[in-house]
């Protein structure tokens, strides 16, 4: 890289900084290796080839050419992603003309430590830190003017809040101003995040249209014109302006659609069939991610697993045909041998080697007790390097291996595998993290970093001496799945699993299947929900592999991944269900309002009740003159500090339906933020065009409702402050509809305890990881989908249901599941039966059992999750967490200090092994 003469704008860093023709795409790229791109002089003009001479590994081959490969496949998943909106299409944004107007993508790179200025936010014009920064929301989104998108890009509100929070992290004094329309923090935990950003000092959220004014020639500052109710039109100067650009469909999307023979919708995203957002108009081709329409990471991940499950349904008959079983050599018993440790220190290209002196670290490692071999490697994770570790382990008779490289989070399984290949127990491997914990975080302090790397390796070597061979337990997997909850999510998930050849027990607490969808008659997009639901219920009942239990309660749930036993009391009596996986899809409920005369006056309805009356053609409703809707009833408040996500579009849906039936009806929607995110924005616009009146209210100035009589007509008088005129306005309505919150289902606490899964702060189920594992629970073998996770629309619930099915199949399709060997164990002779460990283990993995010496604690290694809390609680040291024993950790603590005396101590300790 250093020798390459081509310097050109770095595309990954939004062309803010420069790059070379030979480069690593970006610092987290996988694989983290260099490549040559089209800007190369040789590729363009057959000149240069300096790199050929410099590369000692002969890794550069200019004779390579693009190849066409034909692959026969049975199904295709399209996940081409999205393209950020380009504000250059319109002059009004000043992007490309004013230096200090940047897009949110540019700003994202500026914020990043691996960005163009190593995490310093600098202005293009003078490379100074901007102090006063403005964000403009909805750039390219929610506009019908040519070149812009009519839809809402769904993610910009929250990513802007993230950028504001990070900006304040960089510079606590920064003044951040966000010019926005509605703030759409409709995702799980997003409302809290919004509040966090809003409450930071020096942060202003201003609801106003805004336009770029001018660039001040001397300072290159940018002025913005905006209007507020209090101050009227203002022009204000900012050091930097960030355009929160929206999401476009992927580039060259028509070509892609043509190539695959699929249809697009009017916006250029993939046209899905109404019943399943992941199915394209062509059978066998599925779609995942933002090609469905703008979406956030968790939703993309649902659809990724979901599309996988749909492929599974299509290709189930060929499952396992292409996979090969690994065969390992028999394991050598080395427990009686003296530790013979091999140390491999990885350069990670330049990631470690540029900072840490790797050769001297190798030299140092060789001086450590019990180290019989040490060497450096360019990339320890490369296939040839991994093989080298295996070969050397055999050749040098190593019985423990220390890899000085990266975090064990990613590559530990790979290095453990090299030991297995060498016939050594995989738990004899230890990784010394000298990248994330050293070279990357001390990149300017080479000497100190080298010292730390050596210390870290010494600690690892000390630990390695104490490591013990552990056996992982192979458990058989029961092929049946249990789905709890017979709503759309539960049924969709059950069908997808059953269509891949697995028995499914579907448990529903009601007497009928259908869940909340039974109360929904149509969707915003016009799908007849009852017809669709009827179809799904019929498919469920007709499926030979699905067993439905209605009127059911779960009385007991025991067992563990692959082998659960759940007792269900239902109309069939008491059944004991044995299953390998469980999917919790117990839905959500509608909040019963206590405000706005609900329950006192029969003209006050919730949205679901309104929908029901519309569907039934209730004369009095349909013929009424005016109807008011109030949004955010029972949520976005102190009791429920979250957004119920679905109510805004539900209100629009019912308003449009009423307008369709009775165009004369006056409809008012009193809202805080209209959150018709994504492609639903078009319906919001349609409602507005059809003269549905939208009136904004503030949470501290809620509308008032009273039942009065006006000229002999009994009305509900709704008064609210008109945000533009600032005056109170009164609306006399025949009906009032409350957009009542979606609340967690009754019984979720019991279910969470039964299946040992956790609830989030809002009492919805808590997934294993918000973004990366959104349908898994932290408890192995248990998955979730639907509104039990968080309020969501039917298509989103379907996405997630397929996602959960896909995740469950990764377990159910195997005959065995392996559980970690790093679990707790009791030394019975030390156990004093105090029960401290048993009360610490909320997993219930430890129980007393009778022995000749009395009651002793015993661990069920399959239920044990290896957190080791019991180890700390035990007063006698009888229970220990294998692979993280007191001895192992103390040896690391001792080795952390390089003093001679301590090393002697360590020698003595090693002598005992």
């Amino acid at each position: 890289m250093e020798y390459c003469p081509v310097v050109y704008p770095d595309q990954y860093n939004q062309e803010i900084s420069k790059n070379k023709a030979v480069h690593i795409y970006f610092s987290q790229a996988v694989p983290l290796v260099t490549y040559i791109d089209e800007s190369c002089l040789y590729l363009k003009e057959k000149k240069c080839t300096i790199c050929l001479g410099v590369c000692k590994n002969d890794a550069i081959d200019f004779s390579q050419e693009a190849e066409k490969i034909e692959i026969k496949v049975g199904a295709i998943i399209l996940s081409p992603g999205l393209e950020p909106f380009d504000p250059k299409v319109s002059d009004e944004y000043g992007y490309g003309k004013m230096e200090n107007v940047v897009t949110s993508m540019d700003y994202e790179r500026l914020l990043c430590a691996t960005g163009p200025f190593e995490g310093e936010i600098l202005r293009a014009s003078d490379k100074k830190h901007p102090h006063k920064i403005a964000w403009i929301q909805c750039v390219g989104s929610r506009r019908v003017t040519p070149g812009n998108n009519s839809y809402c890009s769904a993610v910009c509100c929250t990513y802007t809040q993230k950028q504001v929070i990070l900006t304040k992290d960089h510079d606590a004094e920064a003044e951040c101003t966000i010019f926005h329309n509605d703030i759409r923090s409709y995702g799980k935990d997003f409302e809290l995040y919004y509040q966090r950003a809003e409450n930071l000092p020096g942060v202003r959220f201003i609801r106003s249209y805004v336009s770029i004014g001018k660039e001040i020639p001397e300072t290159k500052n940018v002025t913005l014109r905006y209007a507020t109710a209090e101050d009227g039109v203002k022009e204000e100067e900012f050091d930097m302006v960030v355009l929160s650009v929206g999401l476009n469909p992927p580039a060259e999307v028509e070509e892609l659609a043509d190539k695959f023979g699929i249809e697009l919708n009017s916006h250029g995203f993939c046209k899905a069939i109404p019943s399943n957002p992941m199915e394209t108009t062509r059978p066998g081709i599925f779609v995942s991610g933002a090609f469905q329409g703008p979406m956030d990471i968790p939703e993309s991940v649902f659809t990724a697993s979901g599309a996988g499950s749909l492929c599974g349904q299509t290709l189930d008959y060929r499952r396992g045909k292409l996979s090969k079983e690994r065969i390992y050599p028999p394991e050598r018993d080395v427990s009686k041998e003296e530790p013979r440790i091999g140390v491999f220190v990885c350069h990670c290209g330049a990631n470690i080697g540029r900072v840490v002196d790797v050769p001297s670290t190798v030299e140092y490692a060789l001086t450590l007790p019990n180290v019989v071999y040490a060497q450096e490697q360019l990339f320890s994770c490369a296939t040839n390097s991994a093989k080298e570790i295996t070969d050397l382990a055999k050749e040098k008779g190593l019985n423990r291996v220390v890899i000085g490289a990266c975090s064990p989070r990613t590559l530990e399984p790979l290095f453990r595998d090299t030991l297995r290949e060498a016939g050594i127990n995989q738990y004899y491997c230890d990784m010394a993290n000298i990248r994330e914990h050293c070279s990357w975080v001390h990149s300017k302090e080479k000497e100190e970093a080298t010292e730390k790397a050596q210390d870290t390796i010494r600690m690892s070597v000390a630990r390695a001496c104490h490591l013990e061979p552990l056996q992982e337990i192979d458990l058989p997997v029961n092929k049946t799945a249990l789905v709890v909850g017979g709503g759309i999510a539960g049924m969709t998930c059950a069908l997808s699993i059953a269509n891949q050849g697995h028995e499914v027990c579907l448990v529903e607490k009601d007497t009928d299947l259908g869940g909340m969808a039974r109360r929904i008659h149509y969707t915003l997009e016009g799908v007849d929900v009852q017809a669709y639901l009827g179809d799904v219920i019929r498919k469920v009942y007709q499926h030979p592999l699905i067993h439905v239990y209605t009127d059911a309660t779960i009385t007991e749930a025991t067992g563990y991944i692959g082998n659960f036993v759940t007792r269900v009391k239902s109309e069939r009596g008491v059944t004991e269900i044995k299953h390998g996986a469980a999917i919790l899809a117990i839905g959500a409920e509608e909040y019963k309002p206590t405000e706005y005369l609900y329950g006192e006056d029969d003209r006050v309805l919730t949205q679901l009740e309104l929908e029901d009356q519309i569907a039934r053609g209730e004369e009095r409703l349909i013929n009424s003159q005016s109807l008011v809707m109030i949004q955010c009833v029972g949520c976005r408040n102190e009791d429920r500090n979250y957004c119920s996500r679905v109510c805004c579009s539900q209100a629009i849906k019912n308003a449009l339906k009423l307008k369709e039936i009775n165009p004369e009806m006056d409809i008012y929607i009193l809202f805080r933020d209209m959150r018709t995110y994504g492609l639903m924005e078009d319906y919001y616009r349609e409602a507005s065009n059809k003269d549905v009146k939208f009136i904004h209210y503030e949470p501290d100035d809620k509308p008032q409702v009273e039942a009065v009589e006006e000229e002999g007509r009994p009305v509900l008088r709704v008064t609210a402050t008109d945000p533009i005129l600032g005056k109170r306005l009164a609306i006399d309505a025949d009906y009032l509809t409350l957009s009542a919150a979606v609340i967690p289902p009754a019984g979720n606490r019991e279910i969470s305890q039964l299946f040992k899964v956790s609830l989030g702060p809002d009492d919805f189920f808590k997934e294993a990881h918000v973004k990366l594992r959104p349908v898994d629970f932290a408890a192995d073998g248990v998955f979730l989908c639907g509104t039990a996770h968080y309020p969501k629309h039917i298509p989103e619930a379907i996405n997630q249901a397929y996602g959960a099915a896909g995740r469950a199949l990764t377990l159910l399709s195997h005959d065995i599941v392996t559980v970690s060997g790093s679990v707790c164990e009791v030394n019975e002779s030390e156990c004093v039966s105090c029960g401290a460990c048993i009360s610490a283990c909320t997993y219930g993995a430890i129980e007393f059992h009778d022995t000749r010496q009395g009651k002793k604690a015993r661990v069920n290694p399959i239920i044990c999750k290896g957190d080791g809390l019991c180890n700390v609680k035990c007063p006698t040291g009888a229970i220990s967490l294998k692979h993280f024993t007191d001895e192992e950790i103390l040896s690391q603590i001792d080795a952390a200090v390089p003093e001679e005396e301590i090393i002697q101590q360590m020698d003595a300790a090693v002598g005992d092994v």
Binding site: S407, V441, H442, T456, D867, G868, L890, I893
Partner: protein, 230 residues
């Protein structure tokens, strides 16, 4: 995330991986201090956001509170031990916390010297506490359990008079006895000598000696007028 984001922090740290902050035994902290480490930092998941279902981070918090009390009692600055809770995504926070802790520890100076405690005396005190750990665990479990799982509740509980009283009643005495036993292991000593070495008043030492001899732990050597291990 600090690593992936290439956020820079102070180089003095040496890291040990545990699967849960609740796995950190008080013995680990004491051992680090006996090895001359100047500060110990424990990083755990955010409270109420347990990766497991055990909420072991609360146990770490409770242990740290207790350990800090003990440190204070034996003359170590409790600021040398710190626990912080954060998610893996909070790289910036981690960097800030580590840099701040590093700075703090540097201000405090080398372990013991900063406090003006003699090295050998400190070692012996740490050893006395280490010997007491099984007992401390029992006390923590039986008497120092916080009913509500919240950070405020824990902080309030461990600074309450009630806990201070329990601490003095249940731990301080035992610790003194543990220290006395360690001294007597070296050689027999008189009450006066013991009180001088440990900086305790004579009547307290006599009280400990009486109770220990009743329990048969020590015996009084009439001829030499001093106590020895039984």
């Amino acid at each position: 995330m600090a690593g992936v984001s290439r956020l820079q922090y102070t180089t003095e740290t040496r890291l040990i991986r545990v699967m849960c902050s609740g796995r950190v035994d008080m013995a680990f902290i004491l051992r680090a201090f006996s090895n001359g480490m100047d500060g110990v930092f424990i990083g755990g998941c955010r409270l109420n956001e347990c990766n497991y279902i055990t909420h072991g981070n609360y146990d770490a918090l409770s242990m740290v509170h207790l350990c800090r009390k003990i440190m204070e009692h034996i003359g170590l600055n409790p600021e040398r031990l710190r626990v912080e809770f954060m998610s893996s995504g909070e790289g910036i926070l981690f960097t800030e916390v580590i840099n701040d802790f590093g700075k703090k520890v540097k201000e405090l100076g080398p372990l013991g010297k900063g406090e003006g405690v003699d090295e050998n005396e400190l070692k012996s005190k740490l050893e006395a506490v280490t010997k007491l750990i099984p007992y401390i665990k029992l006390v923590e479990r039986e008497r120092l359990r916080v009913p509500v799982k919240s950070e405020e509740a824990y902080n309030k509980f461990f600074t309450s008079d009630e806990v201070n009283r329990l601490f003095n009643e249940l731990i301080v005495d035992k610790l003194a006895i543990s220290q006395i036993m360690l001294l007597l292991r070296e050689k027999p000593l008189s009450t006066g000598e013991i009180s001088e070495i440990l900086g305790l008043n004579q009547s307290e030492v006599s009280r400990h000696m009486n109770s220990s001899s009743r329990q048969g732990l020590v015996r009084y050597d009439e001829t030499r007028k001093c106590f020895a291990l039984a």
